[in-house]
Chain length 367, copies 3
C-alpha cells in the first residue's frame, strides 16, 4: 500500500511508538492506579503524536501559501506543549503549568540549541548561520522573557490581598501585550521584512514531501484530540510517578514535560544540524522558545479565566526567573556571532545539566 | 519683524505653548488649590520652555567652538530635568527625585530610542547608524547604571543606623566617581578620540540657524529661571493631581515627569529619525540617558547636602533597579548591530508599555 | 656569574623583593604577634615568589611541547591563588576563601583588563585584538560564573538542615561539572580548534628565554613550598592586620588577596599591553578569571572534604554574586568588539573602584 500516512510510518521509526497510544487507553481502563506505568506509556505515546502533529502542520502550511502557512506554523508549532499545559490548567495544577512554560524556554534555548551545536560540530569543524535572523529572534525572545518576568520582579514575596489582585491584573495586561507583540513579530517576519529571515523559512519540509491537504487537516484534528486525551493521563500520573522515581515536582515540570513536549521539534533541529543547515536548527530552537513566551504563556493566562478553577498569574518562583533570564541571555550571546563549534554546544548542554541537577536535588519545599 | 526669537516662535508651533507660562503664574495666584489645573498648566508650560532652553544651549555651543560647545551641550543638555529635580529636592520629595532619575533613564533608552526606530522604520525599510559610537555610548551608560545601582544591591533591605550611614557615605563616594567618569568621557569624546563620534556631533543645529550669542545667553538665563519657577508649581501639584487622575506616585515620577522633562530632546530625536539620520537619534537617546546617570544623579546627591532637608542617597527600590538594568541592557543589545527596522522600535515601545502598565497598576505601598 | 636564575634576578627588579622571604620567617619567629608587620612582609614576599612561579611554569611548558605545555600553563597558572586559598581552607577561613575566589574573578576581569586597556591606550590610539578568541574565552567565563552562582541563586536565605545539605550536594555536583567543562575547554583550545586561539598562545615567554628543564622543575617545586609557607603567615596575619588598617574582611579577601595573588600575571598583562600585544593581555585576564571559576574554585570545594574542618559549599553572599555577574558581563561586552582605547580601560577601572569603595566602606556584619 502507498498511502502517505502509512509510508511515513514505515520510514520513520519514531512513529512505531504510535503503538503506545492504544496501550495508554487500555492501561488507564484496567490499571488506573498504576501511575508509573501510565506515566511511561503516556510519554512514549506523546512523542510520536507530536511528530505527526508537526508534520501535519507543515503540510497544511506548505499548501496554504507563504503568509498563511507561516502563520499556521507559528501558532500550531507548539501545539503539543499547549495541549499538555491545557490539561494541567484544567486540573488546576498551576505549579506544573508555570514550570512547563519556564522549562520549555530553558530546554529550547539550552538543550535544543546546545545539542544542535554539539551534533553539528562533531561532524563539521566550524558552522555558520544567518546572524541577522538569529539576532532578531533572540531580541524577540529576550523582550518576551522580560515581560514574562516583570510580575515576579515587582510582585514581591509577601502575598497580601492588594498585591495578589495587582499581580492578576498585571498578568492579564501583559498577556494581551505579549500576544500583540507576537502578532507584530509575525507581520514583520512574514510580511514587511521576510527577506531577512532567509534560509530558516520552509526548510523544515525538505526531504519529506507534504501530505495532501485533506489528509493533513484530518491528521491535525484527530491527533490533537489524541494528544489531549493522552495528556490528561500524563498530567494525572506525572506527579505520583515522579515521586516513585525520586524526582522533585520542579524537575518534572522543567525537564521531563519540556523534553516530552518538544521531542518532535528536537528531531528536526538535530537533523538540520547534522546536515550543516544550522539556520534551521537555530530558527527552530529560538523561534519555539519565543513562541512559548509570547504566545503559549499568555494564551494560558487568558484561558485560565475560562477553563481553570481560579485565574492563573505570571508570577514564577525566583529560581525559575533566574534560570529563564540566564538561558535567554546565554542563547542571545552565543548566537550573536553567527558561528559555532562543538564546544559552544557542550557549554550550553553543561549549563542545562547545571540547571537539571539543581532541580533534581532541590528539596520540594524550596520551589 | 525679524527678531530671531520671534521668528523661531512663528515657525515652531511647539513654542505657541509659551502662552501657558503666564497662565501658570496667574493660576497659582488666583487658584492655589486647583492642583489638577496647576499640574496641567505647568506641564504645558514646561514643554516649550525646554525647547527654548535646548535651542539656546545649542546656539551658545555653536558659537563657542567645538570643545567648549560640546562641554556646554553635555552639561546643560538635561537642564530641564535637573531644574525639575532640584525643585523636588528642595521640597524634600526624595521619592520623586529618585523616580524621576530612574524614569529618565528608562524613558530615554526605551521610549525615545524605540519611538525613533519606529518612526524612522515606518518611512525607511532598514536604517543604519554608527555602530562604534553607539557601542561607546551604551558602554558608558551601562557602567553608569551599574555604579548607580550598587548601593541598592549591597545596601540590603533592613535599615539599621550603621547601614544607613554606610549607604550615605557610599552614595557620596559614587557621586564623585561618576562625575569624574563623566569628565573623562567628555575628554575622550570631545578631545582625544572625537573622530569616533562622527556624525552625531553638531547634527542637532541643522536646519535651524543658531542665534546670536547675546540673545542665546540671555534666553538661557531667563528661561532657566522660568523653568525653575514653573517646576516648583509642577512639583507641588503633581502628587495631588496624580491622585485625582488615579495615578500612582511611582507612575508619575517614572513616566509623567520623564516625558515632560525630555519632550524637547524627543522632538529632535524623532525628527532626526524621520530624516534617516539615526545617528542623531541614537546619540541623543543614549547620550541623554548616560548624562542623567553620570551627571544629573550625582549632582543631585551632592546638592542634597546643601539644598535638601536631609542628605539623599542612591538607594532605589528593587523594581526600579530591575527596570533600569533591563532598559540599559536592552538598549545596549539593540544598538549593538548598528541596524534597525520598525519592529525593533515596536519591541522597545512594548517594553516601555510593560513598565508603564506595571507602574500604573502597582499599589502605592509596594514602591 | 651567568646562572639563569641569577640573571633573571638581576634583570627583574621585582625579584629583589625576594629578600623579604627570609624576613617573613625571621619575623614570625621573633615577633609572632606583630600581625601588621607580618602581613606587610608576607605580601612583599609573595609577589616575587609568584613571579618566579609564573616564569618556571612557562619554562616547563615551553620545553614539554604544545599540548602538554598548554595544559601545564592552564593548571598551574593560578598556583599562587590556589596555594593561598588552600592555606585559608586549612585554617577553616571559608569566608576568606570564597571572598578570594570572587575577588580574583572581579580583579582579573575589571582591574587587570582595565589597566591593560588603559596602559596600552595611553601609548596607542586604538588597539585591536583577536575578537574570536576573546569571545570564546568570555563565553567560557560567563558560563562558569553562572554555574558558580546557581547555589547562591536557588539556595535561599534561610538555613534549614535540608537546605544546607542540598547546597552541599549541589556544590559537589557543580564542582565535578565545572572541572569537566574545564577539561573540554582545554581539549577545544589546545587540540581540536587551536587555530582559533592564534596569537594569544605562547606569547608570554617572549623576551625572556625559558630556563633549562631541571632548573625550572626545581624552582617550581621549591617556590611552591615557599609560597605555601608564606601564605600561612599571610592568612594568619591578614585579618588582624586588616583591622589595624581599618579594612573590612570583605575588602581584604576581595581586593588585597586578589591583587597580591595576581601580581605576577598582571606584570605580564601590562607589559603586553604596552607592546601593543593586547591579545596577550586579554588572554591572560579572561583566561585567568575563567581558570579561577572553572578549576580553582571547584578544586577547593572538593579538597575541603579532605583538608578542611567541614565541607565548603559554593554559596556566596548576594553582593559578591552581583559583583561577579556584573564584572563578567562587563568584560564580555567590552571585549566583544575586538577594539579598545584608553577610555574603555578607564571605565573598567572606575567600576573596580566602585566595587573596592563599596567593600571598604561596608559595615562588617553586612557581608
Amino acid at each position: 500500500m502507498n498511502h502517505p500516512l502509512l509510508r511515513e510510518v514505515r520510514h520513520n521509526p519514531l512513529l512505531w511508538l504510535l503503538a503506545f497510544v492504544p496501550a495508554v487507553f487500555a492501561a488507564e481502563s484496567f490499571a488506573a492506579d498504576a501511575h508509573t506505568l501510565l506515566f511511561v506509556l503516556s510519554v512514549l505515546a506523546i512523542v510520536p503524536l507530536a511528530a505527526l502533529l508537526s508534520h501535519a502542520t507543515e503540510s497544511v502550511a506548505a499548501k496554504t501559501g507563504d503568509a498563511a502557512g507561516g502563520l499556521l506554523n507559528a501558532t500550531l508549532g507548539n501545539l503539543t506543549e499547549l495541549v499538555i499545559a491545557l490539561a494541567a490548567l484544567r486540573a488546576g495544577e498551576y505549579m506544573l503549568v508555570k514550570a512547563s512554560i519556564a522549562g520549555a524556554i530553558v530546554t529550547n534555548t539550552l538543550f535544543m540549541l546546545g545539542a544542535s551545536f554539539l551534533l553539528g560540530g562533531l561532524k563539521h569543524h566550524v558552522q555558520e548561520f544567518n546572524k541577522a535572523s538569529a539576532r532578531l529572534q533572540s531580541g524577540l525572545l529576550f523582550l518576551a522573557t522580560v515581560a514574562l518576568l516583570i510580575p515576579s520582579a515587582v510582585g514581591g514575596a509577601d502575598s497580601t490581598e492588594a498585591r495578589a489582585s495587582f499581580v492578576h491584573t498585571l498578568s492579564v495586561g501583559l498577556a494581551v501585550l505579549l500576544i500583540a507583540a507576537y502578532g507584530l513579530g509575525l507581520l514583520f517576519s512574514l510580511k514587511t521584512h521576510r527577506e531577512l529571515f532567509g534560509s530558516a523559512e520552509h526548510g523544515e519540509a525538505e526531504g519529506e514531501p507534504p501530505w495532501p491537504l485533506g489528509l493533513a487537516l484530518a491528521t491535525l484534528a484527530g491527533v490533537t484530540v489524541l494528544v489531549a486525551l493522552v495528556s490528561e493521563v500524563f498530567v494525572e500520573s506525572v506527579q505520583k510517578a515522579a515521586e516513585a522515581f525520586g524526582m522533585t515536582p520542579a524537575f518534572v515540570g522543567f525537564i521531563v514535560v519540556a523534553l516530552v513536549g518538544g521531542a518532535a521539534e528536537m528531531a528536526s533541529a538535530f537533523s538540520g544540524a547534522r546536515k550543516n543547515r544550522l539556520d534551521l536548527s537555530v530558527g527552530i530552537a529560538l523561534g519555539s522558545a519565543a513562541q512559548i513566551a509570547l504566545f503559549v504563556a499568555p494564551v494560558l493566562v487568558l484561558l485560565s479565566y475560562v477553563l481553570g478553577p481560579t485565574p492563573m498569574d505570571l508570577q514564577f518562583w525566583p529560581g525559575a526567573v533566574v534560570m529563564i533570564l540566564i538561558s535567554t541571555m546565554t542563547a542571545t550571546f552565543m548566537t550573536n556571532g553567527g558561528r559555532s563549534a562543538w564546544f559552544v554546544g557542550a557549554l550550553l548542554l553543561m549549563m542545562y545539566l547545571v540547571f537539571a541537577m539543581t532541580l533534581y536535588l532541590m528539596p520540594p519545599q524550596v520551589a
